[in-house]
């Protein structure tokens, strides 16, 4: 029976379900590589998802909604950045506050805007992001089914993997970002502004997590519903750790976790293995990696530590 489930449409579904994870995980990577622990991904995704849906309802243009979602993600991430960088606040506590806040904000605002309790009005299909058929690949039998006909954000996510790799390991920005997350004092003496790099890393994470949220509300679905991320921000965090803070590693971790999700959805009512047991796989795997059973996941050394310059 399991064999019936494993087919092309499962893999396509894996790609779709992995998309928000990939974007959020890559976002988290930029923040954490700069030394700011980002457990606010969940809240930032919610902000992005809600903004995308709400703006699209009003502007009737999903592209504008997407743009605003990215901006909203960036703005929310600034809360974390300012608290962590300017006030040396505990980054985990601030992240928790942001997550709690964006359980409330969409509901409050949607109540005021749409007189609903937490969800936005259903969007007509033409006002959600379109499906893109990839010209050449679309006609190839196997690849076409797998890679064609997805939402634009899916391609953005796939593109962001090599782009992130390039930015992190080939550019001046990436080198400085990594240096700041590992040894801010050394970076500082080499003339790199720790403050600026950390702001950049956190805001980048906000942009990407905001887009990840938009994918949920105006890509995969056609409205925002209360707490619609359902822990995806934390799965992205798990994938980031499982992938050892590396863009390619995180990408494969997201695919794995997306596959687990896709299988779980398909198995509902088909196979007597409970869905919950598949859903916890990402977290169990991450724990195993943290304990060092499958190669140790070592975080950036300065993560979570405020940089206070001595005089």
């Amino acid at each position: 029976m399991l064999i019936d489930i494993i087919n092309l449409s499962l893999l396509a579904s894996m790609i779709r379900l992995s998309t928000p994870l990939i974007l959020a995980a890559l976002g988290g990577m930029f923040s954490e590589r700069a030394g700011v622990i980002n457990i606010a991904l969940e809240g930032i995704m919610l902000a992005g998802a809600f903004t995308a849906a709400a703006v699209t309802v009003r502007a009737e243009n999903p592209w504008f909604g997407l743009l605003c979602a990215a901006a909203a993600g960036a703005v929310v991430s600034l809360i974390l950045a300012v608290a962590a960088i300017e006030f040396h606040a505990n980054q985990v506590v601030v992240g928790t506050a942001i997550n709690i806040m964006f359980l409330g904000v969409p509901a409050l605002v949607s109540g005021a805007l749409f007189e609903s309790t937490g969800s936005t009005p259903q969007l007509p299909r033409e006002q959600t992001l379109p499906d893109w058929n990839v010209p050449l690949i679309g006609d190839v039998p196997f690849l076409g089914q797998l890679f064609s006909g997805h939402k634009p954000i899916v391609y953005l996510a796939l593109l962001m993997v090599p782009v992130s790799y390039y930015v992190l390991f080939r550019t001046r920005f990436g080198l400085r970002l990594r240096a700041v997350g590992e040894n801010p004092e050394a970076a500082d003496t080499a003339g790199v502004s720790v403050r600026r790099m950390r702001y950049a890393g956190v805001v980048l994470s906000g942009l990407l997590a905001g887009i990840a949220g938009a994918y949920l509300s105006i890509g995969q679905n056609s409205l925002f519903t209360r707490n619609m991320t359902a822990g995806r921000g934390f799965i992205a965090l798990a994938a980031l750790i499982f992938g050892k803070w590396h863009p390619v590693g995180a990408f494969f971790a997201c695919l794995l976790f997306g596959l687990a999700d896709a299988i779980a959805i398909r198995m509902q009512g088909v196979v007597p293995i409970p869905v919950q047991m598949i859903q916890i796989i990402p977290y169990v795997l991450t724990l195993v990696v943290l304990a060092g059973f499958i190669g140790r996941a070592i975080p950036p050394r300065a993560i979570g530590i405020p940089y206070i310059k001595e005089k």
């Binding site: 080939r170 001046r172 050394a186 003339g191």
Partner: protein, 510 residues
């Protein structure tokens, strides 16, 4: 060298004060260009402060600095770099997971478009490393390099940024003897190619073999400027340590009894394959103070931590009154009468936000009568704390104040009170009066001697040679984890002990 040497660096009347402490008091240093200049002195003499001012980390309160004859104001490392200065810190400023090339170019990366031009960067690194004879693999991860190689990366970093004047803070402190030789060759090579080199150190041997000129500092003052060819080890040692003796401890001759501590063949392997403690054996007898003299970082810290049970030796045995305690925990040792005054009171000795009463029980908090089976006895604790504060004259005498609110001297008195109150038979003392005012110093010294006279054995480690010589009944000199020899503190000359601290074997006495 020409008639009138041109100075690469000139510091005139530079003064810097930290709170009450004058770290640099009107110091004058002149460093001829294309020379190797050593700045020597004991810990706390003000060497690093002066160089940190030169490099723009600190701003001097007064005085001026000239670079190549021009008065300059250097208010940040960036200014210093622009003037051709480069500094290699004692604690390396390297990002371990990055490659050698990445570390060197960080902050000044060659780019093509948005990308770093790694090809050019690597070529430049290779070029500089060949030019100055600093062999290194540009693609190696810095974290996987040996300490000596990491130091080369630090030097390359400064050269890559165009440094003409290099400051090295204790460059040999972390190197093996072989690496030291290589480093010297590199530094001489740099001088031949026109660089000016300043090294901060306290190792006399190295100073004599490497430098052209020497500045000696003591207590924030420059006490000597001389060409190396006119210097001798004894003379330098005297200048470094020979401060006026402010304190003479009044004590009668010791009446040593049975050994209370016997250390046999104690060995500690280091992280980099080196040996931190190498087959150390000695005894401390009841009723005597055994002092350990030596330049800091020669294994004293580790020795005391091992004896206190805070570190595990690689080999050897520790006996307390014939009972082996090598594997016992710190608490078990304390119950057997081992007191420990730690070297760093903020890191080890105190819970800074706990009140004085809370600090007064650290280490004995599980024992009767301070704690019952479950509950701490607040009354006993407070009474004991009040008594200790009174007996040891801890000011202000308020046991509800956090330890943080006390001055260094009073904090130390609190620790001493706590440790001496267990009625110890062995006292491990490390830097007992560091950062402590004279009044408290005298007090602590007197208490130590009192306990000695009452029959306790004392093992004393101090970077203050004065302190070691005036308190100890016997002095053991330690160098690079080995016992170099033993001297009688009453008769030894400061030059002689200075030489031993620099690693020379004692002259055989007849």
């Amino acid at each position: 060298m020409s008639e009138e040497p041109k100075y690469a660096v000139e510091m005139r009347g530079v003064t810097k004060q930290f709170g009450e402490v004058v770290a640099n008091d009107h110091i004058d240093i002149r460093i001829p260009s294309q020379s190797i200049h050593a700045i020597i002195g004991e810990n706390g003499a003000g060497k690093s402060t002066s160089m940190n001012i030169l490099y723009g980390f600190y701003t001097a309160d007064s005085g001026e600095t000239l670079i190549d004859g021009e008065p300059r104001s250097i208010s940040s490392p960036r200014d210093a770099i622009a003037l051709g200065l480069g500094m290699v810190h004692q604690h390396f400023m390297l990002v371990e997971p990055l490659t050698v090339t990445e570390n060197i170019v960080l902050g000044a990366e060659p780019t093509s478009g948005v990308a770093i031009d790694y090809k050019r960067a690597r070529a430049r690194v290779r070029e500089i490393s060949e030019q100055y004879g600093l062999k290194i693999n540009p693609d190696a991860k810095v974290g996987q390099l040996s300490v000596g190689q990491q130091q080369r990366v630090e030097i390359l970093k400064t050269l890559y940024r165009g440094a003409r004047i290099l400051i090295l803070d204790e460059p040999t402190a972390v190197l093996t003897p072989q690496e030291v030789d290589e480093m010297f060759a590199i530094l001489r090579g740099l001088r031949e190619q026109g660089k000016t080199i300043i090294i901060i150190t306290h190792k006399l041997e190295e100073v004599l073999s490497l430098s052209d000129n020497i500045t000696v500092m003591r207590d924030g003052h420059v006490v000597g400027n001389l060409p190396t060819r006119e210097a001798s080890a004894e003379g330098l040692a005297r200048m470094m340590v020979g401060r006026e003796v402010l304190l003479r401890v009044v004590k009668k001759d010791s009446e040593p009894g049975k050994p209370v501590l016997s250390v046999r063949g104690l060995t500690l392997e280091g992280g980099e394959g080196g040996t931190i403690l190498d087959d150390i054996s000695f005894e401390v007898r009841r009723g005597e103070v055994l002092g350990i003299a030596g330049v800091e970082g020669n294994g004293q810290t580790e020795l005391i931590e091992i004896l206190a049970g805070l570190a595990t030796p690689s080999g050897g045995a520790i006996l307390l009154d014939d009972e082996e305690i090598t594997r016992l925990s710190p608490h078990q040792r304390k119950r057997r009468g081992v007191a420990h005054i730690p070297e760093d009171r903020h890191r080890r000795g105190l819970l800074l936000d706990f009140d004085l009463a809370g600090n007064s029980i650290l280490g004995v908090h599980k024992d009767a009568p301070i704690s019952g089976r479950v509950l701490l006895d607040r009354q006993v604790i407070d009474e004991r704390a009040r008594r200790l504060v009174k007996e040891y004259n801890v000011r202000p005498p308020d046991i509800t104040l956090p330890a943080r609110a006390l001055s260094g001297g009073n904090q130390q008195k609190l620790i001493v009170a706590r440790e001496f109150d267990i009625n110890p038979k062995l006292i491990l003392v490390s830097q007992p009066t560091r950062g402590v005012d004279i009044g408290a110093t005298e007090f602590i010294h007197r208490k130590l001697i009192e306990l000695r006279d009452a029959g306790a054995g004392v093992l004393l480690v101090s970077a203050e040679l004065d302190e070691v010589l005036s308190l100890s009944d016997r002095v053991m000199v330690i160098y690079e984890g080995r016992v170099v020899g033993e001297v009688d503190p009453r008769s030894v000359g400061e030059g002689e002990i200075g030489l031993m601290m620099a690693g020379s074997r004692p002259v055989e006495k007849t």
